[in-house]
Amino acid sequence: MNFASTQFVPSRRMGICEPLPQIGMWSDYKENNYLDTSTPAILEVDSRFDNQQLRRLAQNREAARKCRLRKKAYVQQLENSKLRLMQLEQELERARQQGLYVGGGLDTGQLGYSRTTNPGIATFEMAYGHWVEEQNKKTADLRNALCSDITDLELSSFVDDGMNHYFDLFLMKETAAKADVFYLMSGMWETSAEHFLSWIGGFRPSELLKVLEPHLGPLTEKQSLELSNLKQSCQQAEDALSQGLERLHQILSETVADGLLGEGNYLPQINAALEKLKAMVRFVGQADHLRKETLLQISRNLNNRQAAQGLLALGEYFQRLRVLSSFWTSRPRESS
């Protein structure tokens, strides 16, 4: 046996610092909770050493072996943690893209917007995350209620609850608009598919009516007429608001470009433009007001069961859009 080449490495000289919490402290591995079933190596008798020293050497060898095994286990754990970390980071990125994660770090969004610096927006993001969870729950409950033997009165309370939940969202948005209206307009709070289909910071009411119509069950002639009128009124209101927004667009451009470009001092123009931008908050407010009025009006023309079915269809429609966005985000990228 060549003792000189054997490495005795006591644990405290392993040089591994700050192991990740998940895998416990290195000291935990010092407990004899690891494999220890092998028999010690058989020593050749060497007349240079007496029995006591032989025993000590054997014990040392054993300790070293165990230490190596522990080290191996520790490294294995580290590798696993590294993989897990990568997975978590990916999930985080996905959730962040969908705008549902309240950033706790130094990240900025696509537009260079740092969520953590605007408390109003951070609050909204959290509240909206809860709102979506609640919405999914309510949709599921509504589905069960419609399948079950439920009284009309109970159904009407489901309908009221569902409508009020949407109105809650509009209130939340009103507060967020005051914090940063462009956050709402940019759709960073929505999933990508929702944002693609959006109009002035939210769903387009006339589009919604088209989605709902086939799912309301059979309509009376009067109801059909009312719905058709509502669709038209909605469209007209939307067009008027869109045109107003276009005008704001024009005015803003003119205001910023006012006076000579390249002359240096443009502070007055910036200040004037700031005033114009405030109109944006009113536009989002009016758009949400239109959404609310449309929902109210359509519910006035329907009986409880029809309204409940409508709400269910709505809930599921938005759920599908969110799922679509999630699938889109995590689809395998095609190589060029």
């Binding site: 067009d239 008027a240 009016q286 009025e293």
Partner: protein, 150 residues
């Protein structure tokens, strides 16, 4: 698309219109600084007549996009609303005048721009216009005021 009737154009004789339509700038004291479209033929008390004489009139701040929205919506319904653009400096006086016209309404909320008068009576702002349009109340009201003939 019809252009809304602007009082500035009808009632004042002045230089050819600039890019932005000339404003009616009544000057009750006749001592304020000389403005481009001077010729103060009217003071704000004439607003009362304007409200009475027009089936629909929209008072909005100059360059306001919300009154533009109201204008567009009414035009889509086939109405040709009168539009009065208020200069920033005249805002307060106009508000006082309009609230006077509206007095006796019983309602307490303060006047805001844009403000719509239908059939000589105060109707509301953009929110009320949108809400009443969605519920279907607006059109019969406009017909009643003679703003619509269908």
């Amino acid at each position: 698309m019809h252009e809304p009737i602007l009082y500035g154009n009808l009632l004042l004789q002045q230089k050819p219109p600039t890019l932005r339509n000339p404003n009616l700038n009544p000057n009750p004291n006749n001592v304020k600084g000389i403005k481009e479209n001077a010729s103060s033929l009217y003071d704000f008390s004439d607003l009362k007549n304007m409200v009475k004489d027009n089936a629909v009139i929209v008072f909005g701040k100059k360059g306001c996009c919300m009154s533009h929205v109201i204008k567009r919506l009414l035009q889509a319904l086939g109405v040709n609303p009168a539009v009065y653009e208020v200069d920033e400096v005249d805002e307060n006086e106009v508000v006082i005048e309009l609230e006077g016209i509206r007095a006796g309404d019983g309602k307490q909320c303060s006047m805001q721009f844009p403000a719509v008068f239908i059939g000589g009576r105060w109707f509301g702002g953009l929110e009320r216009i949108i809400a009443s349009h969605i519920t279907g109340e607006l059109t019969p009201l406009l017909k009643q005021a003679g703003a619509l003939w269908l």
